[in-house]
Amino acid sequence: MKALMARKAAVLWAAAILLCVGLGTWQVGQGLYIMAKAELAQVLLERAWTKTLEDGRPHKAWSWADTWPVAKIEFPSLGESRIVLSNTSGEALAFGPGHLLGSPLPGGNGTSVIAGHRDTHFSLLRDLKNDDIVIVTSIDGIGREYKIRESKIVLADNSNIDPRAAAGLVLVTCYPFDARERGPLRYAVFANENPDAI
């Protein structure tokens, strides 16, 4: 009787602990999976991008992708680069920063907007400083230099980013960087075409 009860209690204990371990492992796993996916995708995208540069046509990194690389963005001050995808759907952003439809492509006429996740591809935005250089290579293989003018916190639905303003670049990610919840604030890095570049 006593042993039975003790065993029962032990089973309950074990179940509770296993449940917590299971839940915890699953959640951490999911989190790490998201980050790993983000990292790995960039490798595959890099490959697709190389092909795109070769023949000037869009290539999907994997056959079922809804999106394809449209630009490469480099941050020489941080020694980092990212492949930019053709849209900003949740699906695309999981794999890389995306070009916001409604704004021109980099090199186009106006201000082009690129958005990325604050916790993966665009976590580096917080390290950018005014006057840092950003290089964007478009599908035609032409690299353009932009110089960072300012960084601002804006509201997602009141960004005041006018895509028809002067030729420039806005990099956007969620704000604050360390928050766990999603919110209405965005961190926007504004860059102008670098007049010093030749």
Binding site: M1, A6, A9, L12, W13, I17, L19, C20, V21, L23, G24, T25, Q27, V28, G29, Q30, G31, L32, I34, M35, A65, D66, S89, G90, L93, A94, G98, L100, L101, G102, S103, V113, A115, G116, H117, D119, T120, E150, K152, I153, V154, L155, A156, D157, N158, S159, N160, I161, D162, P163, R164, V172, C174, D178, A179, R180, E181, R182, P184, R186
Partner: protein, 754 residues
């Protein structure tokens, strides 16, 4: 055995303790699980991009020195007069504003209107001057306005930003000057089943709350720097309590409102869900009402709902207007309402469900739930099939099968097991859904129900597929999720002669799907044709005439040299031919019928251009029609200039270097104060699929007002990892507790043994 039972108290106590602890820890785990799922759920709610359209009420905003910051002008009074004639409402809004500042300012007035509204009149009363707006091509109107602004003349400009958002810019408003803005527009009333309704977006008086707004506002770097050049920066503090603005004014905005209603049919109930009204009936078809209270808190949109007394057969109504050498007609067809319904034909229902990656999360659940709901409501005589697609495609049955037990069970299992993954290749799915093996079978109606978020890019191909292969099928699009591509889906359902339904959240599934199913179940009238007395000289919209579903009125607008002879409307009700002859000269004369015709023509031109892609040709036609009928459109604007300069030379106009863009719905309360309001508003927008459709329309002009809407750019990873770590920590704590407990029990045991 007996030995053990002799010590019940010893056995009892550790068991009780551990038992409660286990219970407790299980509880904690459950709470954690709950929190985790809640977090994910909350994320789903805020991820949408629907908020482009947040302007729910007009507000005059003055540009300030700092880009992106605006000084709201206190609104003093609003007077609204609405005339409803059949399906048309004509609204005149008169609003009085004052420039509270000491400088000369340029103001911009944003007003949201129903998407089908035609703005045709603008009047500005500044001091004792009345300026009437003239219609001009968009670019020219802007040029005229900007010239006037530069020369110190008072000027105003009404532009269409989106089909349902207009702006009115006002240049050179003097210090402490009062401005009266009067705008007139025409709209068709909303109809849902037997319920007609009309909404007026009540103006929320802008509350002046720079303290709340500042720390969270657009630009952190410039800190407390000047809230606008309306006042010099050193007078910043005064702005928090502008002398003209009584504190109470921010909360109560006196609105007087009058509606006259001529429904076009015998009236049943007339109600206003949010306001007390004084109602006066005038015969069985007419009524007028005013707000019962003189001071109405302007925090709720005014809504009026009226119902017809039940009728059993389609009834038609006719209005006319003569402009110049031409007659304009409005024909209204009211489907049968109430319980007396003709028997409907059995259906062949084809359900298409998008399970591509973009649907993952709540969208997929909503789509599945909607489809299961639909499957459960098929009639035994119906046949059906299910198609799912991502970048691959599965057609469940080789051909449509009878909707009975086994087939339904197979279909439900199939739907329940769907998972969102892969890309979106919509064209093959659309093609498969339109494959009709019994093209000439008119004993059944063939209905394609397409559930998707519409995340596609080859819209043109899809439209082409619909228009060329529709046959006897009808296409009903169901937009899933908070931000579906409703623009595409509305147009697709129009081309497919069906309807568009938007399901924005899980709790809307039942309501919206039953509305849709009511329509699907009751194909009141199909194959409608309108034969005009002289077909060659008559231009009638929409063309072709869409089917008449339950709950939807058909409104035809036509233009002809002279309204005489007989209009013949033919259709089919449940397999029975239906025909009505209408002497067109008999229509009652009403103003505004011509403008409605023009607005519908423009609507159709916009839709055609979208499908065919011939923007240039259609733009020219849109401009021509809009100019002729004095309507604001995508290509035309109203501009008014007072030729006498009012701003003295040397005085500076503060908005000089300001960006012309303006944040939509700049409402501190909405953005910062009460998230609940935000959600409620989203929900109310969800209620009108068509409006949302226009909000999602990728009109270039839209970008000008609020800047680009930015996407959600955070993953769940940090929250997941954080939550997971907590759970692991808890597991470790539990293990420690367990160990302690065992240790304690065994030592107690050992002691007792001794």
């Amino acid at each position: 055995m007996s030995y053990r039972s002799q010590r019940p108290s010893v056995a009892e106590s550790p068991r009780g303790w551990s038992h409660s602890l286990v219970l407790f820890s299980t509880f904690v785990c459950l709470v954690l699980l709950f929190i985790a799922s809640f977090i994910q759920h909350a994320h789903a709610d805020t991820g949408g991009l629907v908020k482009l359209n947040d302007v729910e009420s007009g507000a005059l905003l003055f540009n300030s020195k700092e880009p992106g910051k605006y000084v709201p002008a206190p609104l003093l009074a609003t007077d609204v007069k609405i005339d409803v004639t059949g399906p048309i409402a004509r609204t005149r809004v008169t609003q009085q504003f004052i420039n509270p500042g000491d400088g000369w300012v340029e103001g911009k007035y944003v007003f949201p209107l129903p998407e089908n509204s035609a703005v045709d009149t603008l009047k500005m009363v500044i001091g004792d001057k009345v300026i009437e707006g003239k219609i001009k091509e968009k670019e020219e109107a802007r040029r005229v306005y900007e010239e006037a602004r530069a020369q110190g003349q008072k000027a105003s400009l009404v532009e269409q930003q989106r089909p349902n958002v207009f702006t009115n810019s006002v240049a050179n408003i003097g210090p402490k000057e009062t401005i009266v803005v009067q705008i007139e527009y025409q709209q068709t009333v909303r109809r849902d089943g037997d319920t007609f309704s009309l909404r007026f977006p009540m103006v929320v008086a802008p509350r002046y709350t720079p303290k709340t707004a500042e720390p969270q506002l657009v630009d952190f770097q410039s800190g407390g720097e000047g809230w606008g050049t309306v006042l010099p920066p050193e007078r910043n503090d005064d702005l928090e309590q502008p002398p003209v603005l009584h504190p109470d004014m921010g909360k109560i905005n006196p609105v007087s409102l009058t509606v006259t209603l001529d429904a076009g049919f015998p009236l049943g109930d007339i109600t206003s869900p949010h306001h007390k009204i004084a109602l006066k009936r005038d015969g069985e078809r007419k009524a007028s009402l005013t707000l019962a209270e003189e001071l109405v808190p302007a925090n709720r949109d005014f809504e009026m709902v009226w119902k017809p007394a039940a009728t059993s057969a389609p009834t038609a109504a006719l209005f006319r207007e003569r402009i110049g050498n031409e007659d304009y007609l409005l024909v209204m067809l009211t489907p049968p309402s109430g319980s007396v319904q003709p028997e409907a034909k059995p259906r062949e229902a084809i359900f298409v469900i998008d399970n591509s990656g973009s649907m993952s999360g709540p969208s997929m659940d909503q789509a599945k739930e909607s489809l299961l709901w639909a499957l459960n409501r098929l009639n035994p005589g119906d046949t059906f099939n299910v198609i799912r697609f991502d970048d691959t495609l599965t057609v469940l049955f080789p051909d449509a099968v009878p909707a009975h037990g086994e087939n339904l069970a197979v279909a439900k299992k199939f739907v329940k097991n769907l998972e969102a993954n892969g890309g979106t290749e919509m064209l093959p799915a659309l093609r498969a859904s339109l494959v009709d093996r019994k093209v000439s079978d008119d004993t059944r109606v063939r209905q394609v129900v397409f559930l998707t978020d519409g995340a596609i890019s080859n819209e043109r191909e899809l439209f082409h597929e619909i228009t060329s292969n529709l046959g006897r099928s009808r296409l009903f699009t169901v937009g899933i999720g908070s931000a579906p591509n409703s623009y595409f889906m509305t147009r697709a359902s129009e081309a497919g002669r069906g309807t568009f339904t938007h399901i924005g959240s899980e709790d809307q599934v039942t309501e919206r799907m039953s509305e849709l199913f009511d329509k699907l179940r009751n194909p009141v009238m199909t194959d409608i044709t309108a034969t005009w007395p002289d077909g060659r000289t008559t231009e009638s919209w929409p063309n072709p005439v869409p089917d008449l579903y339950k709950g939807e009125p058909i409104v035809l607008s036509a233009r002809m040299p002279e309204a005489k002879g007989t209009l013949t409307l033919r259709g089919e009700v449940a397999g029975q031919p239906w025909e009505v002859h209408m002497p067109v000269a008999a229509g009652e004369t009403r103003p505004g019928i011509g403008k409605l015709w023009a607005r519908r023509k423009i609507e159709q031109l916009e839709a055609d251009a979208q499908i065919a892609g011939n923007w240039e040709q259609n733009d020219a036609e849109i401009t021509r029609v809009a100019l002729e009928h004095h309507l604001v459109s995508r290509r035309t604007s109203l501009v008014a200039v007072d030729v006498t300069p009012s701003r003295p030379d040397g005085e500076k106009l503060t908005s000089k270097n300001m960006p012309v863009n303006l944040p939509d719905g700049w409402d501190y309360e909405k953005v910062f104060g009460e998230p609940a309001i935000q959600r409620a508003k989203q929900a109310s927008f969800g209620a009108s699929g068509a409006m949302l459709a226009m909000a999602a329309a990728p009109a270039a002009e839209a970008d000008a007002s609020a800047g680009l809407a930015l996407p959600q750019t955070a993953t769940d990873a940090p929250a997941l990892i954080h939550g997971g770590m907590l759970a692991l920590l808890l597991a470790a704590m539990l293990s420690a507790l367990w160990w302690l407990q065992r240790h304690w029990t065994s030592s107690a045991w050992a002691r007792r043994q001794q």
